[in-house]
Symmetry: C2
Subunit: 351 residues, 2 copies
């Protein structure tokens, strides 16, 4: 098994040099063929490709990374614990979108969790070593230092939701404002009069935008905004339960709830059930994300769909642009670096 019949060198994998010898060309030419350079004649290309196939040549990524100063890998950084990551369908959809888009390239995706301080330090070390060409940052909170760190290290990055309206990093987001607004408009159209909302974490810009949509929808309809009907949640099921309990105490007569995530809606539903409220007869419920939870809930949950997979694809697209543009140190304008994708209300039995 070891001997490679005469000309076989030691057990190792074939190198560029060996492919070159086999094809009767120079090292540079093989490199050009491998990297798809157009400056190679068809005959030569064919010869090289044959040699590559015969030898089963696979480029050595370490050597390539060293010489070319790139890694052909990007990281999806999740500033959450594994547990949260798995509990939140958002992440899995995002990962699927990125994965699908990435499979059309030669790049490798790394999934990095940075929930704890310890993991954070590890990540910082990792980034300092420039082990990836770029970073996709999802679910970043307002005062997270990560984006700045990436800036200092000059690592291309794309963020999933802007941290504020002044975001400087390229970003992809869904229309949180419009989504929030459409949820409330839907509930009003259904004849609901007292519409509460369970918000996401307030340090997430997108959550803020949903609340603004909620407010504006009410105001635009000539209604007043009752601040007691706005209760902060934290995107978890437990948080949804807590907020719903609070709401029932504050306003026992409410007849609609807009939960700014499906997971929180699930929590709210439990509390409503226990309190003897029927959905949607007594209280209409609308969620956000249109995840699997929404479809499987009893009754099925009306929810605002965000095209998460598409967002993942879009993020990757932006990142690859960033990376490509950084190579020859070109700097273009900011056009198309802030992508906003539309949301869509999916009406089901809960409202």
């Amino acid at each position: 098994m070891a001997g490679h019949g005469g000309r076989g060198r030691s057990g190792g994998r074939p190198t560029l040099e060996e492919v070159a010898a086999r094809a009767g060309v120079g090292r540079g030419t093989v490199s050009r063929v491998i990297n798809g350079s157009p400056r190679v004649s068809d005959a030569t290309r064919a010869a090289v490709e044959a040699a590559v196939a015969e030898l089963g040549y696979v480029p050595n990524t370490a050597a390539r990374a060293l010489a070319a100063n790139r890694t052909d890998a990007i990281a999806l950084v999740v500033p959450e614990s594994e547990t949260r990551f798995f509990a939140e369908p958002y992440f899995s959809d995002m990962l699927r979108g990125v994965g699908a888009a990435l499979s059309e390239t030669e790049m490798q995706l790394l999934l990095i969790f940075a929930g704890s301080d310890r993991e954070r330090r590890r990540l910082a070390q990792y980034l300092a070593a420039h082990r990836v060409d770029g970073v996709l940052l999802v679910s970043v909170h307002a005062h997270d230092p990560l984006p700045d760190l990436l800036g200092q290290l000059e690592i291309p990055a794309v963020i999933s939701g802007p941290r504020s309206e002044h975001e400087t990093l390229p970003s992809v987001d869904s229309d949180n404002y419009g989504g929030g607004r459409s949820a409330v408009e839907h509930l009003m159209a259904r004849g609901r009069s007292t519409i509460a909302t369970i918000t996401g974490r307030l340090d997430v810009y997108g959550a803020q935008r949903r609340i603004e949509g909620y407010r504006d929808a009410l105001l635009a309809a000539g209604r007043e905004v009752d601040e007691r009907l706005i209760v902060p949640g934290d995107f978890t099921e437990a948080g949804g339960r807590r907020a719903m309990t609070e709401l029932l105490e504050r306003c026992p007569h409410l007849d609609a709830v807009f939960a700014e995530s499906d997971v929180m809606a699930a929590g709210a539903r439990q509390v409503l059930r226990e309190a003897g409220r029927r959905i949607p007869d007594d209280v209409a419920l609308v969620g956000y994300d249109d995840s699997a939870i929404a479809r499987h809930m009893d009754p099925p949950l009306t929810s605002v769909r965000q095209p998460i997979e598409e967002m993942g694809r879009a993020m990757l697209g932006l990142l690859l642009d960033e990376i490509a543009d950084r190579r020859p140190a070109v700097s273009r304008g900011l056009e198309r670096r802030q992508v906003v994708l539309p949301t869509e209300l999916v009406a089901r039995a809960s409202s």
Copy 2:
């Protein structure tokens, strides 16, 4: 070396050579300090460490990988789609265990899905390029070619469940036989007479072992094994529903079901409910995995707990041993390369 005009030393990251100059020592010495070699005097070590800190030196992984022929990365390969991965709590626990154990090392974890043929080909390419030092293989089916491929490429690997009793790869598994047996013993102790089982995929060795446990428990108690009470599932909720429907048709008088995964138990529960069977009054139900699903089910599900996180840790331990032992081409015995961890029955209201 300085005089190659134009080559901007300024912008780049510091190199070993620069640290050496700064500390007034040779390159080799810095390398020794960085890699924790004991053959360095304390004074020299201190000087080097100071220089490293001052310059903010971070080793270049690509260069290291090229020179040392290792990558300091391992892959967790999941031969499933992302969707299945997220649906199955088993994987997330496993990932958590591996991640926790890995954070004590300098190694990097890569998560690779290989559900589709396309992803498979990509993985093969990836492995051929030796971009990882080792592979953790979870949930491998009987005739999967992956283990053989790894063998050919001489990449250290550890498998989560043996493919058969003749498994040659190092593996970590829970005591599936004992777990299956204890579930049935528990049901018998509860006075159940007609105990059915919904099995896992038959091409998974662990699932086979659970069935053997089921059989032997019955036989040991002097009962007969009724083959009609053994229905194959596939570890999914839909499969659980299907199997349960089948069981109710075949044996309407059954009074206990052992589902060989919690997810399938959840499916079975739905069917039982719809058929008007009360749990546990009419039919006792036992699951396997003791995942979050079991705790949250209504009624809470009795389940066989496997220490999945520990299994993840153990797998990583074995893999690191494999990698270390391969370096100086030593080959030891096979002791301790097949780890089996105990299971534990967690009794709840469903039985």
